[in-house]
Structure formats: C-alpha cells, structure tokens
Amino acid sequence: MKATIIVTLKPTVLDPQGITIQRCVQSMGLPEVTDIRQGKYFDVQLADNTPPERRKELIQRLAKDVLTNPVIEEFRIDWDQKS
C-alpha cells in the first residue's frame, strides 16, 4: 500500500531555489517559463497488513509531524489505491 506526500513552501514564503532555477532557465532561452517553485515529494510504502483506518492516521501523522515544517511549509497527500 502506497501514498505520496507532497510538501511545498507556503505560497507566500520565499523560494530562493525556485527563483534561481527560473532565472537560469530564462537566460538559457526558455523565456516562457515564468515561475518555478520547488517542493519535496515522498513515496511512502506501508506494510500490507496495515488496517485501513490506521493508514490514514499514519500518513497524516507522517506528513504533518515528520515531513513538514509547519512554520514555512504545507503538505498534500495523494492516496494511491493500487497495490
């Protein structure tokens, strides 16, 4: 059982990496790229015998308490129903 957690900077928080990449890309001759924001992506694998109600709680906790710094980031969970 898998889930994907995506952690991004809050929209108003400065993203120096994104800005730098975007500037570079522009000067490389891709002026159409007007903005890039970088985030983190986590593929999480859960043991197959994890009960469904526990899954939800688990992934939530993982996303909220471990993978996200709530001061500057926010997260989003993509549930993957496969496998």
């Binding site: 928080v13 400065l14 993203d15 120096p16 001061v71 500057i72």
Partner: protein, 735 residues
C-alpha cells in the same frame, strides 16, 4: 482610527504615542505608526539600554569607528582595517531554528560588507537547553545546520565560537553571530544619505511580507502562543547575499557609492531614515518602484518587511547607470526607489499619495529612552557549583558525583570523574558542530575551531588576526559584575594564548525582561563589569547588540553577555595554539598569587597576560592554553587530545595541592594559563619579575594521561580512551 488596541499591538505606550503626535503635530497614519513602532522598538531604539551603554569605554589608539555604525572598525596597520560586530538572532531561531540562525548569519555579514569590508571570518555563540529533550535537540540541529548552510554557501569560514547548555535556555536558545571583515582603511563606507538630489537605489531580493514586525517580535517575550507568531520568519538566500557582496564591493571600488546600508531589522524603514538622520538629510521613497514579490502590498507592509538580502544605497547622481551595470553583471536587480532631499523628512509615497512623512532625526535618533528601575537581589549566597560551573545543566546524578568527591576526596575515583568531566555536555568535544562549518574557505585559517582563539592570517602582510567569543553565563548569573569582568579577562586571555595582542571588543547582551527591576540591575552591573575590565585591559568596545525579553512563560534566561574579542598578531611566528606539541616539553602553570573563585583581580590578570604575551613573542612558548571551565585537569586533557595534525599525546603532571583534590583538579579559578616550553627556568624568572606564580608541573609525552596528586596517581588513563569519550559524547547526546 488608532485605538488602544492598535497601539498595544504595536507595542507603543500612551506616552510614546503622545510624543509621536508631538513630533508630527497630528495623528499618525497607520503606516507612520508602523514605522514608529519598529524604530522605537527595544530592538532598534535601545530604549532601555542606551543610558547604560554610554558607560562603556569606546576609544583607543586603534579604534577607527566605535559604536553607532553598522560595525566597529580597528586599524591593524599596513593601511588595513578590520570591521567586526556581533548580533543576536535569538527570537527568530526559537521560532524557526534553521532559517532563524541562517538569517542571523546573513544579517551580520551584511553589517560588515555594508561598510566596504570583505568578510573573512565568522563565529557564533550558542546556548541551548539540555539535550535530553527532543525539542532542544531539534533546535540545536536546526541552528547549527542553518549557520552552516548560510556561511558555507556565502564562502566565509566559521572559525570559532561556543556552545553551552543550561536549563534556562530550554527551549529559548541564544544564537549570537559574529562576523569580521577586512578592507583598506581609507575605503570605509558609511550609511549616510548625502547629496541632495542623489538617487536612492534598492538592490537585492524582492520585498515580500516576510518578517513584518520582526523587530517588534524581538522586543516581546513569548507566551503560550509563540506558535501563532510563526509566519513572521524570513528565509535566507546565501547565494543572493554572495552576489550582493561581490556587486557591492565592486561598485564601491569603482567609486559609485555615496552611502549604503543593509536592510536588516525594520528593513526599508530603518535603512532609509537612519541614512537620512546621519547625513542630516531627507529621503523620499516611491514605493511603486520597490521590487515586490507579493501582490497588493500596502505601504505599511513594504516599509516594515524584513525580507532578507536587500541593501539600500545612495549613488552619485550622474553615475546611476554604472551602478546598474555592476549589479546586472552579477545578475541582481537594482532600482532607483527615491532620492535624497533637503527637508530632513522620510517621505513615503505610494500610488501617487503620501503615506508617511516623518522627520528622520526624531524617528531614528530621538526615540524614547528609559531609566528603568533597578533592584539588586537581597543576597547572593554561595552556590554548590561555584567551583564547578561546568556542571550547570548536567544531570543531577553527575553533579552529585562531583559534589560527593569534593566532600569525601579520600574515597573518590578520579579516573571516573575525569572521564565523566570529559564526557559532560559543557566540556566534551564540539567537532559535531564545527565540522559542519566550512572553517577553511579563503585559505587563511591558521587556527580554526577548538583552540583558545581562532587565527586568520592576512595574506601578503605577515600578520594575523586572532578572535574569540566568550560568555560565561553561569558566572554572570552568580555575580553579574564580577562575571562580566571574568568574561572580558577570559576573552583577552584567549587572544594572548594564541599569540596576539587584544585590541578591541564587541559585545552582545542577552537578557530577560528589562521591565523587571532585577533584570535591569543585572544589565547595569554587567555593563559596569565590562567597562571596568575593558578599561584595565585596554580593549575598547567598538559596538554590539542588546537582546532583551529572552524569556519563556515568564522565566528569564541567565544574564548572558557574550564578548567578541579581536587581537592582532604582528608576526606569524607568534601564532600559538593550545595543543601540546612534542614529547619532552615541560608543562608550566602560570597563575596569580590569589586563588579566588567567582571574582577576579584585573591588575593581576593584566600582569599575567603581559608576561605570557612577552614570553610567546620571545619564542619561549610552544603551546598556551587558558584554564577555564573544568579547571586544570580538563585544560590539561584538552592540550593532549588529537588535533588535525597529530594524534593524541600523553602527559604526566603533578597537580599542585592548595585545597582538596576535587577543587584542585576541576575547580575554576580565573587567571591561569598552561604553557609548554623547553626553557622553564627562563619563564620562571620572568614570572617572578612580574609577581606571578609559575610552576613546572610535568612533561608532555607517552600514551597515558597521568595526574599525580599528593603523591598518588589520582588519574591514570590511556589518553586515547579519554579522548574517545570526549570526542564521542556530542554525537551520542544527539542520537
């Protein structure tokens, strides 16, 4: 429109509001209120501390610039000067340890290169609560990571500092960052908006709603709702800062810049009004020109934003274009956002309307000033840790082991105590911290972290600069004035031990709530202690920073002054480090005749420092180490541990017997230095002439660490075993 509520949100008292109305001769707009609130915050106006700071000695033959500018400056000869300063970033680091510490480093670096100096070294002084708590560990990992992230990328070596632990910093850490830069002494730049009609140019990162009210945040304690203040934190971009450095120095070199100031606390507001105030001019800003990262920002937000990596500069009228070219070369935005005027006013325009109009002088220089009430504590009894301050913050069981040994020396196991001391949080090796810092970039680091003072050679001069940070908070908490004197003395001693002459100092005063009379008394005592010691040791204060309101849920931190001392080493042959060099060298203890605890005689200290400096310059000394926390035994062990150039080396030493074993081994008497030499008798003569006590106490060599006390081997350990404990503790505390 401006209600009581609005005033209290801005931390402006009724009396202060009346003054604002007096100055303006009308009610302020909300933008103006915001501007006043940041400029008159404790952080920017020094309203509680100013009356005391005046007592610090600030003049000396080497001082080119004392307090009042972005950094202090001293003359180091050869037409060169160094600028240095220390600054706190405690509150932001509490809220977001990584970014808080990172932007602290960014801020102090800007203060240095704003003056035209190229930063060549950083240090930091850190205080955390005990690492038994997950939260404290998390804070420390974040803070150290943030400092490394910023300094390493920017390309300045982080060459020293200190880390210590005590309960009162849980979970409110102290993060004080120091930076030092070098330049030609006739190329100093100041934050002055001179020349009516000159353009005011904004360079660097775009403005967002970052850190709005950061300055007022740093001026209020944290209650339960610390979390709610979180969105204020700024993000650091060290790459942008590196570009700013190069571009600013290039523009300065080309003679394009009239005045320049970083946008630190209170951002655009403080940089513009302070530059105007210093030059006696006005500054008119057109906010529509300010590069903005977010939509629909109000004048209030733009003026108060604390987005990082921005500078404001005033250029020669005719040379605007050249400035733009330099900044564009480095890939940076530079925009004219206003001009210098003759009317002395900070005038802020947005969308064609005047949003604020305030006299610069009154805003920047004539903020409120308080003589807050002071109250000494009823009595200062003795504390069980007076001899062993390194135990503060340790587990109670560890403390008890030492206290028991102190009371019953006959039954004590000093091998065990030696290992416990070496593995205690305040004494153990800090490699975990400083191996994360690039301490070698710029290829000048002769002595990096881990010795008494760091030493940076100045290329092409045959000279070096020594620097150190010291802040013995526990001592200060016991006796603020004496503690402060001991702090200055220790810092100077560290410089002397590295072969330097202490020249000048900067200081960061971290205290609790100044509205508490006991805190204000501590503050005043500390200032007097620093003033006295700096006068005697001839190391004037060239600047500093004050951080109040370091409290969580009403508990104040220790009064924690941190002193940054800078010294000059005239000849690279004089550079000396603390580690023992060669087997067979004599180990010599030099001290004053007094065996005080918790207080210091500054004249004796001065004699000690002169004697050791002189001995080093005469080539008599192979290594020198100041004895501080953990006493003689710990200092000896530190000299034996492996360095980057040799493995651990043993020593056999007779510990002089004055009191009882535990105090003689681990007690922390001030004014003592350990030297190694091949000419102990010559050193003895010199010490005698100076009225100092000098004893040859042992020899370097072998693989064992042996401390003999009253005819017995009190400590007899393989040095490798001891070193392993010392080196492994820190990573262990964190895992």
């Amino acid at each position: 429109m401006i209600t009581e509520d609005v005033l209290s949100q801005h931390g402006i008292s009724g009396a202060e509001f009346d003054r604002i109305k007096d100055i303006l001769k009308r009610e302020p707009t909300i933008t103006e209120l915001g501007i006043f609130s940041v400029m008159w915050s404790e952080h920017c106006s020094y309203k509680s501390s100013r009356v005391h700071l005046r007592r610090l000695p600030t003049k000396g033959s080497n001082v080119l610039q004392g307090p009042g500018e972005n950094a202090g400056i001293i003359d180091i000869g050869d037409g060169l000067a160094v600028a240095f300063k220390i600054e706190s970033h405690n509150h932001p680091s509490y809220i977001e340890p990584f970014q808080g510490a990172a932007t602290g480093v960014g801020g102090i670096l800007r203060d240095i290169f704003t003056m035209g100096a190229r930063p060549i070294a950083c240090m930091n002084s850190l205080r955390f609560g005990p690492l038994g708590s997950t939260q404290n560990r998390h804070i420390m990992e974040g803070v150290v990571g943030g400092i490394a992230f910023y300094g390493n990328c920017f390309g300045v070596p982080t060459v020293g500092g200190e880390v210590s632990f005590a309960k009162c910093y849980s979970p409110n850490p102290l993060v004080n960052a120091f930076a030092l830069g070098i330049f030609e002494k006739d190329k100093i730049f100041y934050g002055r908006a001179k020349g009516v009609g000159n353009p005011v140019i904004y360079v660097g990162a775009k403005t967002g709603r970052d850190g709005i009210h950061g300055a007022t945040m740093a001026s209020a304690g944290f209650g339960e709702d610390a979390g709610a203040k979180r969105p204020n934190v700024q993000i650091g971009d060290p790459f942008m800062e590196k570009l700013l450095l190069e571009a600013c120095l290039e523009a300065m070199n080309k003679g394009l810049i009239v005045g320049i100031q970083d946008m630190g606390a209170a951002g655009l507001t403080s940089s513009s009004c302070e530059m105007g105030a210093r030059a006696g001019t006005g500054v008119e800003l057109e906010l529509d020109q300010v590069p903005q990262r977010e939509e629909a920002m109000t004048a209030y937000e733009i003026m108060l934003s604390e987005s990082q990596e921005r500078m404001l500069l005033v250029a020669e009228k005719a040379r605007e274009k050249e400035i733009f070219e330099v900044f564009h070369k480095w890939g940076l935005d530079a925009v004219t956002v206003g001009r210098v005027t003759a009317d002395g006013l900070l005038r802020v325009k947005q969308h064609g309307k005047v949003m604020a109009e305030i006299p610069n002088k009154q805003l920047a220089d004539e903020g409120p000033r308080y003589e807050r009430p002071m109250l000494p504590p009823k009595s200062t009894g003795t504390s069980r840790l007076d001899y062993f301050t390194f135990l503060d913050g340790c587990d109670e069981t560890l403390i008890q082991e030492f206290l028991n040994a102190d009371h019953n020396p006959g039954t004590a196991d000093f091998n065990r105590l030696m290992l416990l001391a070496a593995g205690s949080p305040n004494l153990c090796g800090r490699q975990w911290v400083w191996e994360q810092y690039d301490h070698m970039v710029q290829s000048n680091t002769m002595i990096g972290p881990g010795s008494d003072a760091a030493v940076i050679r100045i290329k092409d001069t045959g000279k070096a600069i020594a620097m150190t940070l010291d802040g013995p908070a526990y001592l200060v908490s016991r006796h603020p004035r004496e503690g402060a004197k001991m702090m200055v003395a220790e810092a100077a001693r560290n410089i002397v031990c590295s072969g330097g002459r202490p020249v000048a100092a900067t200081n960061c005063l971290n205290f609790g709530n100044p509205e508490h009379p006991e805190i204000m008394w501590q503050f005043s005592e500390v200032v007097d202690g620093i003033a006295e010691a700096c006068s005697v040791l001839e190391t004037p204060i060239t600047g500093g920073n004050v951080s109040f309101y370091n409290e969580t849920l009403g508990d104040n931190i220790y009064p924690t002054p941190v002193l940054g001392m800078v010294g000059i080493i005239e000849n690279l042959d004089h550079v000396t480090s603390s580690g023992f060099m060669d087997a067979g060298d004599s180990i010599v203890l030099v001290e004053t005749s007094r065996m005080d605890i918790g207080k210091i005689d500054l004249n004796d200290e001065r004699a000690l420092q002169f004697m050791v400096r002189d001995a080093i310059q005469s080539g008599l000394v192979k290594s020198a180490h100041d004895i501080s926390e953990g006493g003689l035994a710990s200092a000896l062990a530190e000299c034996c541990y492996g360095t980057m150039h040799r493995p651990a080396i043993g020593a056999t030493v007779k510990i002089p017997s004055h009191l009882e074993a535990c105090k003689d081994l681990f007690g922390e008497h001030p004014s003592r230095i350990l030297l190694t030499t091949q000419n102990a008798s010559e050193l003895g003569k010199r010490a005698g002439a100076a009225g100092l006590e000098l004893r040859e106490i042992g020899k370097v060599g072998g693989k064992r660490f042996v401390l003999e006390y009253e005819g017995q081997n009190a400590v007899d350990l393989a040095i490798d075993e001891l070193e392993t404990v010392w080196r492994r503790t820190f990573p262990k505390l964190l895992s």
